[in-house]
Assembly symmetry: C3
Homo-oligomer: 338 residues x 3
């Protein structure tokens, strides 16, 4: 891909101040992760505090917000004035979108008698690739792994040893799957996260999700599960976790080791859990929440805030499980009395 220079995006993003240093943009990153050729954005005042330790080369920001926090900008970070930083970030993300298949018109159907050069190089001789499997460029498949018919592995997918990938699973580009992972039929790993910036007229501008999904060793994923990839970095399911059918894992979620997510659970974006968390069927969470180690959520529980380790919860709104078990009994009793 041709490098995209900062100077070339001024018009597209509507940057209103002159740039002080031009550079080829490496990527979009959060403030705390980027380097001198990366770009970030600030949409809310709370993020200005991160500037002092940030190494990014430039930040998209509203002019008035910049002026109010000017002293927090270190000399190595350029402020780029835009009317809507989130929208500018979304537009810029589209320049860095990665295709599922760099060469869509080349063969993807795996043919053991004549795999493409790319395919042959990375498939362990003991892997069992059944008929009807589509494999993109640079895919790695480990020892004794079985890939069943109808599976589609986009460019750069990496699958470890001793996995079973059941029929019609789709794994999006660059996803990383550990060893001894089972993924049941119809599940989708690595699809775009649900993230949009909004225009003044109420239209939604897609934020390209350029991160990936990473699945740890010994994870089992049920049928028709959806796990979105990260906007930056990774959505991660850590070692030993088990996910039931029809579960939704949003972009940038991190599920701790040995957790159990029962059927139809839904996790909104950027929610993280500790280890050995259990969520009952149809439970759900808001976004940007942390659930501590060994927390248990009863079926249908709706998590809207951070939860400390070793606690149990239920209901919507969420209450400590003990309270939830008695709450409606008490209400019914009170109603009868009144």
């Amino acid at each position: 891909m041709e490098p995209i220079y900062l100077s070339s995006i001024i018009d597209m993003l509507g940057i209103t101040n002159p740039i002080t240093r031009d550079f080829p943009i490496a990527s979009l990153t959060p403030l705390e992760q980027g380097g001198s050729e990366d770009i970030s954005y600030i949409d809310q005042p709370k993020y200005f505090a991160l500037l002092s330790s940030s190494q990014v080369g430039a930040v998209l920001v509203r002019e008035r917000d910049y002026l109010a926090h000017k002293e927090l900008f270190p000399p190595h970070i350029q402020a780029l004035f835009v009317p809507n930083p989130h929208l500018a970030f979304a537009k810029l993300s589209q320049c860095f979108a990665i295709s599922e298949f760099a060469n869509p018109l080349e063969p993807t159907l795996y043919d053991p008698s004549k795999p493409t050069d790319s395919q042959s190089a990375h498939i362990h001789p003991s892997a069992q690739i059944m008929q009807g499997v589509h494999i993109g460029d640079g895919v790695h498949i480990g020892a004794r792994t079985c890939i069943m018919p109808g599976v589609v592995l986009s460019d750069g997918v990496h699958i470890g040893d001793d996995c079973k990938i059941y029929p019609n699973v789709v794994i999006y580009r660059q996803s990383i799957i550990g060893d001894r992972v089972n993924i049941h039929a119809g599940s989708v790993i690595g699809s775009d996260g649900f993230g949009y910036a909004h225009t003044d007229s109420g239209e939604h501008c897609k934020i390209e999700h350029n991160g990936i999904v990473k699945i740890g060793d010994d994870v089992e994923i049920g049928a028709s599960v959806t796990i979105d990839r990260a906007v930056f970095g990774v959505t991660m399911i850590k070692r030993g976790s088990k996910i039931d059918n029809l579960v939704q894992i949003g972009h940038n979620c991190i599920i701790g080791e040995n957790s159990l997510l029962v059927s139809q659970v839904g996790l909104a974006g950027s929610t993280t859990t500790g280890r050995n968390v259990i969520m009952g069927g149809q439970a759900g969470t808001g976004g940007h929440i942390h659930i501590g180690d060994f927390v248990q959520i009863a079926g249908r529980g709706a998590v809207g805030k951070n939860l400390p380790p070793h606690t149990k919860w239920g209901g919507h709104p969420l209450m400590p499980l003990d309270e939830w078990m008695k709450f409606y009994v008490s209400l019914r009793r009170m109603l009868k009395k009144s």
Copy 2:
């Protein structure tokens, strides 16, 4: 298809009165939409009011209901007496069912070196049809659209320009997809609606859904979403709307422009929304409801009635969002006091 004459369905439907004019039945329609060769049915008294402006040729109706509303029947509409109009309608719908593939034993696998006549006729030269795509008769694929492996497009599907149809998506017959539409892996567009008539003995008789799904421009649909086609007419997702993973859209729903439906939302049949509606994760609706422009439903909100524009709601049962935010706090306080 051979025309089906009204006279030929008398026995099948158990019509108990003589017909006054025979005609080849064009289709089944709602009272307000049909013409002189269409048939409709009346199952509930409130629909008799629509007869005066209806142009249909005949109506399935209970004899006793007819006798009670005889004066409302214009001379051009025949009343056809049946014991259970909904059941008769269901049986008749089965005569008009349309196959996914008119020629199932002909090749459907797209082969760029020798597409079938039907396939080659409608695929833009700049479209990218990857390996392993199945295409029915009369499918149209627009410029620069990319169809990824494992996608199945039934007869008559129309896809616009610049779309991305991800692996293993299934689009049922005659669905219409606009320009710049993304549909993520495993989603199903145009499946049969969940509609049955019921016999006296408690069996369910399938109502064939002979409508279609229409997706507007700039719509994005997540992974493993299901959108059912209409019983008549269209299920529609209007321009600019974004639908997250594992969402269910029932038959005959209409989603207004630029709406956002977060993961695991479920809309029952015939529910419609205005523009820029937002429904949080796992929210749901009953059927035959209208949600006004710019309405916001919190996650898990359960919509059971029409909602006026520019309002915010949450909870189950649904309450104004402000009330819902305080409701449980107040209940818990009251319980502590008591």
Copy 3:
């Protein structure tokens, strides 16, 4: 498969007492179903009462539980002492796991001009197998059944007459599908149940589900539905039931005749229903519950206990429908007064 002798699993399971009779293990079964070459386990005291009528050859049990109930063991049942019977059972189940495809490297893609010997023997000449269908060993397909592109049928699947199996459906090994069954696109029948035993250190050991799924005549299954197979025996959907999109049916569930499960319903494992049960959208159940004949559950209803026939329910926690309809009205009135 080589027979597995009881004597060969002593070390693997950590059995601490000497065995008294060796035998080739036929299978793992519940206490009440097995024969003299089957093995069962007891994890909870309530199951000791089943020993007197059981015919199994051996039972995995904690030594201290055995000593407390020694007199209940008939002479033909060996007690096998293990520290964690559920975990030992899980490990043993893995020895009896059945592959989806016994011969994954043989062709599975159905080619009408040269089906494999196994395929040709069991496909009715009037069945329509479209292009792009994968068929395992010993699959049976009945008269006039249509199998659409992208469908994967694992070894031993049996499909009756006049079925429509829509694109990209996956049916796991040995599932039995009746006559006149429709299964819509993307659904998964017979995937592994969500069952694990737990180690002391909080890891989860997979219980292989060696049962099957059985679907009765005249059943319709929507799009992206998941139905797990049984741990032993069958998960069953009985004749005439209709299941909407995105429904989850757990392992060992039994759905009675002519039931209706609306979209996004979730049933936990081993829940059973009588006939003509109706569950509204997004309703759910706990596990090991029985719902009586003709019960109706309102949308989003959460069933946590057995329900008697001919009753109506709603809410979470579940209440009689009448009470649920008034409950929140009363609460709001009470709050206004206070």
